[in-house]
Amino acid sequence: MVDGSLLGLVFGLFAALLLLRVPVAFCLGLSAFAYCFAANLPPLVVVQKISVQMSDTTLAAIPFFILCGEIMARGGMASRLIDVAGVCVGMIRGGLAMVNIVASMFFGGISGSSVADTSSIGSLLIPTMVRKGYHRDFSVAVTVTSSTQGIIIPPSHNAIIYSLAAGGLVSIQSLFLAGYVPGLLIGSALMTLAYLTARRRGYPPEAPVPLKRAAQIIVGAVPALVTPLIIIVPISLGWVPAHQAAVVAVVWAALVSTFGYRTLSWRGYGPLLLKASKTSGMVLILIGAAAAFGEVMTYLHVPSQLTTWLMSLSASKVMLMLGINLMLLALGTFMDMAPLIVITTPILLPVMTELGVDPVHFGVILLLNLAIGLCTPPVGSTLFVGCAIGGISIEEATRGLWPFYVAMLAILLLVTFVPAVSLWLPGWVAR
């Protein structure tokens, strides 16, 4: 069989399996097995590649970050962060929307998951917003879009997945630092939009928190507020690898929740460990299977051929980057984030490198595109969670989401075409 027919077999089978609703990890694995059978390669290599990839200790950061987010959500740290956000921005018009966005900024900087953010902050704030007269579609839209900050603002386990999918060539430290400015820009854009909407619809500001109470709230939330620093500072300064910083955050969150806030008993850890295990297991097999599939793509010269083909389409870097953004946005509307990171990174990173785009910069572009995809129908896990909490249909939520999509797309264009937005901070720290 010639390479062309092997290519058709692998990608045809992969697409057919996807459409049959075979989970993505198994689509990747089965396609890799099919290639080995067709190309007379020993299928042992698929199992070997998955096992070796999953034994990489950097991967331990993923279950640790997920567990840390679970402990913080169940252990009362999330609600304290909401209280702090209330002190900081609650008195602005549309105060609860502002609190929602700023709380996502704080909490996202810990959990790294937009679904965890939406379910923990949304379940507390959406009902309160609706009770105070905010429209349901607006409340859901603010919650869903602001939760994407968790994917961009470090620590983000999706950034670790990207780093691994890039073959470990992209430093996690640089990726984390590159996410700060874009994440803050998203937060600022959403806050501006929420303020303008609040003025037009007459959403009220919250009553200012008395100074003494504000001080109590902030002091009480200090253990939650320092958690991102516990993770970020040691990684940024190169003291420890990502998984060790993540485990320190897990231990810290457990100590604060169990002995400080006393909101989690030892018995409460069983379900948390199990929940984190389920989500992590799904991500780890995805990364393992993607490594096997990536090997197949390398055998078939897919990245190099795609690079040549894309470069022949247009000489304009701007057009190519716009095209790649559109493709990622389109893919993000019907596929979840982690599978897309592991599938698209090995294919698109060589193209971007050929275009002269820094791999760290591309990481932020990729994460931002796919984060927007999490908020868009027909498949958007964050959107689904937000709609379930808000008790509205996806169609109703989408009506409220349109202005927020526009704001996020504007930030995406800025991040894409102004590399300094992502690269300035890692460059400055490296100096």
């Binding site: 399996l17 049959l20 609703r21 075979v22 989970p23 993505v24 990890a25 198994f26 694995g29 089965l30 097995f33 299928p43 042992l44 698929v46 199992v47 070997q48 998955i50 096992s51 070796v52 999953m54 034994s55 990489d56 200790t57 991967l59 331990a60 279950p63 640790f64 997920i66 679904v115 965890a116 999706n158 420890v240 998984h243 060790q244 485990v247 231990v251 379900p271 460990l273 199990l274 929940k275 984190a276 295990s277 389920k278 989500t279 992590s280 297991g281 799904m282 991500v283 780890l284 097999i285 019907f334 596929m335 979840d336 984030m337 982690a338 599978p339 027909p378 896990s381 689904f384 969670v385």
Partner: protein, 167 residues
């Protein structure tokens, strides 16, 4: 047959769930020990990193199998949502059968790999086969959990607390 499978997978999933929670706790303990030992005493043991890697392979494979029972694996639903009910059920059973096939392949070739490996791991001196043995166990579990879905059909959803959202 399907009633037997349901009971079997229920107990298997509970057992795997306990093992997963213990594995994650062990990973946390090991990484904490590694971090504290280095930060306070500048001591590091190459064995801890190797054992962490082995635990991760067990954790990843067993988590993948458990995820089949808990239906947490991410897939593309855009097509099957538009299918009429009987077709949709048929397609979902077919998808589960394909997942079972993947489990069988992983278990079979995992066993072949385990039996062929002759070298040892550098730090612990354990046979490198221990790195591939989780594939045998988890592959078999994947096949059993997916087969249960083939037999019982897509409507027999697991308990709500067993399901989860994606990251």
């Amino acid at each position: 047959m399907s009633a037997f499978m349901r009971v079997l997978t229920f107990y298997l999933a509970r057992a795997v769930g306990v093992v997963l929670a213990l594995l994650l706790a062990a990973l946390v303990a090991l990484a904490t020990l590694e971090t504290v030992a280095w930060a306070l005493f500048e001591v590091s043991w190459p064995q801890t990193s190797e054992i962490s890697g082995l635990l991760l392979v067990w954790f990843g494979f067993l988590g993948a199998a458990y995820g089949i029972h808990g239906r947490v694996h991410l897939g593309v639903e855009i097509v099957i949502r538009r299918l009429p009910r009987p077709w949709r059920d048929g397609v979902l059973r077919l998808a589960s059968a394909l997942v079972a096939l993947f489990g069988v392949l992983v278990a079979f070739y995992g066993a072949a790999l385990t039996s062929r490996v002759g070298n040892t791991l550098p730090a612990t001196g354990l046979s490198a086969a221990v790195q591939y043995f989780p594939a045998v166990v988890a592959g078999a579990l994947m096949a059993v959990f997916a087969l249960e879905e083939v037999l019982t059909g897509p409507d027999q959803a697991p308990p709500a607390e067993d399901r989860d959202a994606s990251p």
